[in-house]
Amino acid sequence: MDLLRFATAGSVDDGKSTLIGRLLYDSKSIFEDQLSAVEESSRRRGDAVVNLALLTDGLRAEREQGITIDVAYRYFATPRRKFIIADTPGHIQYTRNMVTGASTADLAIILIDARKGVIEQTKRHSFVANLLKIRHLTVAVNKMDLVDYDEGVFHRIVQDFHAFASRLDDIAEITAIPVSALNGDNVVDKSDKMPWFKGPSLLYHLETVYTGGTENHVDARFPVQWIIRPQSHEHHDFRGYAGRVAGGVFKPGDTVSVLPSGFSTTVEKIYLPGGREIAEAFAPQSVVMTLKDEIDISRGDMLVKTNNPPNKGQDVEAMVCWFSQKPMEARGKYLLRHTTKETKAIVQELRYQVDIETLHKKEGVPTLAMNDIGRVSLRTATPLFYDSYRRNRLTGSFILVDPGTHETVAAGMIV
């Protein structure tokens, strides 16, 4: 079965948790014991209706404060597709969670309150989704029940959104749907309250939209993760390179180069985990490759097709989102993790910060604080082999790690 990963962004007030609760509930992915536990909690809290948000807000602090703190992952399936939802909180202070949830998603649902229309938060969510290269945006105009299911309200909001979205880059498709998460209108089933709307219900759209995945199937990239040397009688001379294809397609017989050494050799065999031989390997498969020649290769090296090499260099330009409470240090030194490689990196320059309220560039800012997004230039201690994030999410992304605390302090997308 096909799998779709999507992210949702919105705050409590937009009814995001209610919408997800509704998707899970109406697609029968919620079990009786979960529902009765939520009914019981709602009763104890004195909620007038069963609070579907309690299905998703799992941590004690979240239930106490009635807010979503962290990215939560939800699962449901219909006969057509399996879904993984990255459910991210929408408050401004939680940009880092939105970035995290969006990093593995193919599609984002942008929630808009029909009474408020396109507001700063809508733009912020769309900007983050776009920055992380989500090319499919589904605009759910929620709370249509509170605007009398009015067609004019919906169309004005859709027009405003398109006007704003023209400033985004490389969007494949935008679908807008008027819904009421509370009552279930147009969430799973088409609503009879909005006969003027000819489009699909939200679930039908999610089941049928074609995204083609986010993988790159053009530029062959294989970051070596682990060397397999059985040292047993049966497999005495076996030397396999285990890893996950990060881009393109590899076949036995392909001429490949090993980076950084630059040696060329030929792919001998490709195995799936467990040993089944295959004729080609593509992203995101985890495989083992053997090569014709014995070359010194270790974790962090990359196999690429000789006729299509990646960029190589110690100076990279990137958009970064800062995660740590400790602000980015000018000339600060961090550990940089890129594919299976780790190297030291120094922040050369903060070129500008993006004001995520207005999307304007602010130049001359001294640092990035938690949840800030900005463009930096970095210098690494050893060369990176990379593609732009636009071209390949896996070879174009990195994280920065604080060498003292070992915390993940930032995520970066190479420009």
Binding site: R60, A61, D70, I228, S232, R244, P273, S286, R393
Partner: protein, 301 residues
Amino acid sequence: MPHYQLDHLDQLEAEAIFVLRETAAQFQNPALLFSGGKDSIVMAHLAAKAFWPAKIPFPLLHIDTGHNFAETIAYRDSFTEELGARLVVGHVQDSIDKGRVKEEKGPYASRNALQSVTLLDTIEEHKFTACLGGGRRDEEKARAKERFFSHRDDFGQWDPKNQRPELWNLFNGRHHPGEHFRIFPLSNFTEMDIWMYLRREAVALPPLYFAHQREVFARHGSLLAVTEHITLLETEKPERKTVRFRTIGDVTCTGAVESNAATLDDVIAEVAAARQTERGTRADDKRSETAMEDRKKEGYF
């Protein structure tokens, strides 16, 4: 399905294999938590595939409450032998004997909560820097927010509000001496995916997962097995029923369901139609609304 697209089980497998290899690469001394339950069977099966044709480069670790189904132990021993894996066992009885934990008393006594202490002691004794677990995010609402690479402090505690952000394929396993990680390669599997994967891979399972006759009694809406480790209340009457288990853990808190499902196909059909989660049969989760989060903070699996 178009060319160069994987079906969902292949995607989940590729992800889990990547995480297993990443664990071997980033940690000096990892171990794979093995309980004989279906999730840990999938884990061990995946680990064997991930490093083929070499052996699994770390041991399996079983935390033994002493309150097991006999079938689980028999399965554990034959399965580890078949994989050629090394097995390390930590005994809750040892923790009790050493006075590290106090056995619960009364009819509801369970060693389930005591396992956390034995687990942390065993981790310390063997200096394991990472423990691979079969936890899934669909199991429970606190687990839904846990990372693949989940950090534990010096005291083995999980701090849910201070987790490392996890993006793309990039896992940060850096740690200071004394800290360790719990790693969950099956995070994105659902219960249904586990069953479908077991069927696809034709993995043999302990017979407990299939319908069989057993003496059981009803408690708090679950059917518990009659064993020497549970004292029945006067009102509780044992009955012989055809049952199977949806999860397998300590006998004192693992509930059975009435079922005639005798094969994996039957089980999958039953899971698809089920209106109760599998943890609905677990007495340990019914102790409070945030029972799982509270136990995890203390160092539970």
